[in-house]
């Protein structure tokens, strides 16, 4: 298998390779494949090499380095870094440079991280294929005729194509897990409030979470260790002691109760996906876990609720992009025309569609019928999950209906929205979930989710790690990722 954080960390501290050499290798590889992949919106070679040199100096001085130190990573372009452009893949922010660092960036800096660039995404994280990026889509490193998934498609493509060892994504309705699944990687969406959202360009505030996309479960735990923790600048951040998630990397699920919610296996799920998960269930049973059938009836309303709440919050969060004090501006004869021209030209089609949806569901006369009702169903869905966790430790579900789809496969937005059925209920309930490779179909990876109760990261990491350790055949390197 390819390079992982934990393997490279060993090589660094054994002085088999320096961080600068490593970073150079990744930059060189990127220069070969990026033309086919388009994972990055901006690259940062000079700064990355500086960061790497600093780590090498520490190693040379005999200092202990963090698990993540000196190992090239990539950051989704909706997470701000001081002095760097941050576009959210939108024309609106094409030339905007952030004057401040996101909370996660400060934490990564404290871990001596190396970032080789900012990754492509669907505009403002709205989409599941990167086809909504103003700067053009990223390609799936397993087969460039296919999408890498989204919205964190650039992050997944970068890791799968060997352009970065790890990446940060953000997940509002599946935007970490689905691309991880499409690219044969591990994607972890933490519990809402575990990772600071300060400096994450908001799409839907009550759903957004930052998380890692990595090659294996161990790396996911290492990155989570670096980025998780209380941040008083985010009022929704959970005040809690720092945890070590690598403690959960135990190859053993004996006595664990794994719930199988029937609603996740509806008619939209492809046979190959169903088959892969059935095999996984059989494995867990074999490994000593107890399999518990559970029901989460409101999953069926998940997509409807999500496509009310997320656009509602987005319509307000994106109102600030008005051409007044920063970002793109299209002139107009007066202030209203300037607003209209700026937002008409600055936003892409999908973003405008969701803003309109959001404004509609919040408007007088429709609020009760849509937004208020959606909040109620969201609460019922949470209660469903709570009841399920009275019977089991984790839940198992598909990460997507099937493998990656081809570019342009979905011409109408509604059928694409329906694809989010497996992932959005998890965000609505604020739960942690990890997507891990669970097989292949026609040469493309398939993914599986393990969903935990709130702050149950260790439980899902343990189950995921056990599955991974017993299925090395699923953790393969994409053709473009071979170095």
């Amino acid at each position: 298998m390819g390079y992982t954080i934990h393997e490279l960390h060993e090589k660094l501290i054994q002085k088999e390779i320096s961080s600068v050499e490593l970073t150079r290798q990744f930059i060189a590889h990127r220069q070969q494949v990026e033309g086919d992949i388009h994972a990055f919106l901006s690259v940062n070679d000079e700064e990355a090499l500086k960061q790497a040199a600093a780590v090498d100096a520490k190693i040379a001085a005999g200092e202990k380095i963090a698990a993540l130190a000196g190992i090239p990573g990539a950051i989704k372009d909706n997470i701000v870094i001081r002095g760097q452009k941050c576009t959210a893949a939108s024309r609106m922010l094409e030339n905007w440079t952030s004057p401040y660092d996101a909370g996660v960036i400060e934490r990564l800096e404290a871990n001596d991280y190396v970032s080789v660039g900012k990754t492509n995404m669907d505009e403002f994280a709205m989409g599941s294929s990167t086809e909504n990026s103003y700067f053009g889509p990223s390609m799936n490193p397993w087969n460039t005729e296919y999408v890498p998934g989204g919205s964190s498609g650039g992050s997944a493509a970068a890791v799968a194509a060997g352009e970065a060892v790890w990446a940060l994504g953000s997940d509002t309705g599946g935007s970490i897990r689905q691309p991880a699944s499409f690219c044969g990687l591990v994607g972890l969406k933490p519990t809402y409030g575990l990772v600071s959202r300060y400096g994450l360009i908001a799409f839907s505030s009550s759903l957004d979470q930052i998380g890692p996309i990595t090659r294996d479960v161990t790396d996911a735990a290492i990155v989570l260790n670096a980025i998780a923790g209380h941040d008083e600048r985010d009022s929704t951040s959970i005040p809690m002691e720092k945890a070590d998630y690598t403690e959960a990397l135990v190859n053993d699920v004996k006595g664990m109760k794994i719930g199988v919610p029937e609603e996740f296996f509806g008619k939209g799920i492809k046979p190959e996906t169903r088959e892969a998960i059935e095999k996984a269930i059989a494995f867990f049973k074999e490994a000593g876990a107890e399999i518990v059938p559970v029901s989460i009836p409101h999953i069926k309303s998940g997509v409807s609720v999500y496509y009310i709440i997320a656009p509602a919050e987005a319509s307000s969060n994106l109102a600030r992009y008005d051409g007044v004090s920063y970002g793109f501006r299209a002139p107009g004869d007066n202030i209203v025309d300037m607003y209209i021209n700026t937002r008409t030209q600055g936003f892409g089609k999908e973003v405008k569609r969701r803003i309109m949806l959001g404004n509609y569901v919040l408007s007088a006369g429709y609020y009760d019928a849509y937004y208020k009702k959606a909040l109620k169903v969201r609460r019922l869905l949470k209660e469903d999950f709570d009841r399920a966790y009275e019977q089991c430790d984790v839940l198992i579900a598909p990460s997507a209906s099937g493998t990656a789809f081809k570019f342009g496969a979905f011409s109408d937005p509604l059928s694409l929205y329906m694809e989010d059925i497996c992932t959005v209920p998890v965000n609505l309930a604020g739960l942690p979930s990890i997507s891990i490779p669970a097989g292949f179909h026609n040469g493309l990876p398939l993914g599986m989710q393990i969903i935990g109760p709130a702050l149950g990261e260790k439980k899902i990491l343990r189950a995921a790690y056990t599955f991974e350790q017993n299925h090395p055949e699923f953790t393969k390197t994409a053709p473009k990722g071979e170095m």
Binding site: N78, I79, V80, C86, A88, L93, W96, S98, P99, Y100, A102, R197, Y198, G199, L200, I201, A202, S204, S205, S206, E232, R233, D234, S235, T236, A312, E313, S315, S316, A319, R320, D322, V324, S325, Y326, N334, I335, Y339, N359, L362, S363, A364, Y367, Y371
Partner: protein, 481 residues
């Protein structure tokens, strides 16, 4: 037909916290444009708000002082509308669970006290300031925006439509200002915008129960403006009704220069604010203990202070109300009394000489060039008989200009009152000798003739003769003639 006005007020007051409501920027007034700003209050991509705990404390304190119930469970909401002084294009405010509800204020007009109910008071953030190069945002060549004020904490206090006259509205505003100042919540300067007022006004025939159609008047920037705007609007509406017309529900703006209200936008053009719960701030609870701790720190409020001044110092209701209507004035008064000034005399001087000097110089009482202690010294010289009141009024401007104490000025200029009987008798004798006509008039029964002689003596003594003693000696001597 006779009409009565029905008035409700929406008061916005800036909370006098050191930092803004959702970030650590300073709230100071008058800084260079766009210097008290940060990514959070500028609404840059990715920022999040964090509630300043002092804002909650101030809001609870105000609520308690305004006799409100404090909500144990409260939350913030977003009010969505586009305006270039609002960087996020939504204002974080409170919609359906305000921090304070069901309060009241007792206000007095012409000796009659009425209770004005307060519907609610809620926390919210202020917007920035626009400077138009042209007359308005629609006609200006360009506009500049200063975000220093963005995120300044505000408390919006909404009354029930319980007021029936412009005078009552002004009394309510004055009482509101006094209470907020006493509690240290706001400096309440309408001219600087730290106290603002929108008025909802309707009229109805006297005796009618149902409310008439209301208009909302914005852009009222002074206490005088409150009175004039409401008076104008009530009259305007009454005239329309009298002529058989109907009132249009709309928002109007007060034009201070022309003294009229003008239509701004109709009900149909009103914004749909699309309120929804602020997802970046979690709902919060307020404990009984928290509330009681704040209640304990509430200062003596204007009504209590007024009662105390009437009782302890024997001030009239009018005088006590005047002194206590402004916290700084009441503090000044108390400092004077504490330094030994006679309370009634102190009150007279506050209303007279000091008020005159302050308005002449455009100063607030807390910026008075003569301290309460220095004024008390001056008043004590009168009480002791060292100087006359007349001399005191001459000394006071000099104290103001030079900063010298009353005693120093009296000594330097030899202004000590002449109370020596021998010296005064000599002056009286001289006056009698020099004014035979006045003496004759007095003898023939015209007592007023004495006045001219006293005046002459005072003039000759440069005001130093003790007028009371002069008068006594003169009467005695004239009667003995």
């Amino acid at each position: 037909m006779k009409y009565e006005a029905v008035i409700g007020l929406e008061v916005h007051t800036e909370l006098h916290t050191a930092t803004k409501i959702f970030c650590n920027c300073k709230t100071s007034f008058g800084a260079d444009p766009n210097t008290n700003v940060c990514p959070v209050c500028l609404g840059l991509p990715g920022v999040l708000p964090v509630l300043n705990k002092k804002v909650l404390e101030f809001a609870v304190r105000a609520g308690l002082a305004l006799n409100c119930e404090i909500s144990r469970f409260s939350k913030f909401d977003r009010k969505n509308y586009y305006y270039p002084d609002l960087p996020k294009n939504f204002q974080t405010s409170q919609f359906d669970l305000p921090i304070c509800e069901h309060g009241y204020l007792d206000v007095e007009v012409d000796g009659e006290v009425s209770r004005i109910r307060i519907t609610r008071a809620h926390m919210e953030e202020d917007a920035g300031k626009l400077v138009h190069h042209g007359s308005s945002i629609t006609t200006a060549d360009y506009s500049l925006v200063d975000y220093n004020r963005t995120g300044t904490p505000l408390l919006e206090i909404v009354s029930e439509p319980d007021m029936r006259s412009a005078k009552q509205a002004v009394a309510y505003m004055e009482k509101m200002r006094a209470i907020l100042q006493y509690c240290g919540i706001s400096d309440c300067r309408m001219e600087e915008g730290s106290l603002r007022c929108d008025a909802n006004v309707s009229v109805r025939p006297v005796g009618q129960k149902e409310l008439g159609t209301k208009t909302e008047i914005k852009n009222i920037n002074s206490f005088k403006g409150v009175e004039r705007a409401i008076e104008y609007e009530a009259l305007r509406q009454a005239e329309i009704l009298e002529a058989g017309g109907t009132i249009k529900q709309e928002t109007r703006t007060w034009d201070e220069n022309e003294g009229v209200t003008k239509s701004m936008r109709s009900k149909e053009e009103a914004n749909d604010y699309r309120y929804f719960p602020e997802p970046d701030l979690v709902p919060f609870t307020v404990s009984d203990e928290y509330i009681e701790n704040i209640r304990k720190t509430l200062p003596e409020l204007p009504d209590a202070r007024k009662a105390r001044y009437m009782e302890s110092y024997g001030l009239s209701a009018y005088d006590a109300a005047y002194v206590t209507s402004d916290k700084d004035r009441a503090d000044f008064f108390e400092a004077m009394v504490k330094a030994g000034a006679d309370a009634k005399e102190a009150c007279n001087w506050l209303m007279g000489e000091l008020a005159g000097k302050l308005s002449e110089n455009g100063l607030e009482i807390k910026d008075s060039k003569v301290t309460p202690e220095a004024m008390a010294e001056l008043l004590k010289l009168i009480t002791k008989g060292t100087i006359s009141g007349k001399i005191a009024k001459k000394i006071f401007p000099e104290m103001w200009e030079t900063g010298k104490s009353a005693e120093t000025i009296v000594k330097e200029q030899g202004l000590v009152q002449i109370s020596d009987t021998g010296a005064l008798e000599a002056m009286v004798d001289e006056a009698i000798a020099e004014n035979p006509k006045a003496v004759a008039d007095f003898k023939s029964g015209n007592k007023k003739a004495m006045g001219a002689m006293i005046g002459q003596i005072m003039k000759k003594s440069h005001g130093k003769a003790n007028p009371r003693m002069v008068s006594g000696i003169l009467i005695k001597k004239l009667q003995a003639l």
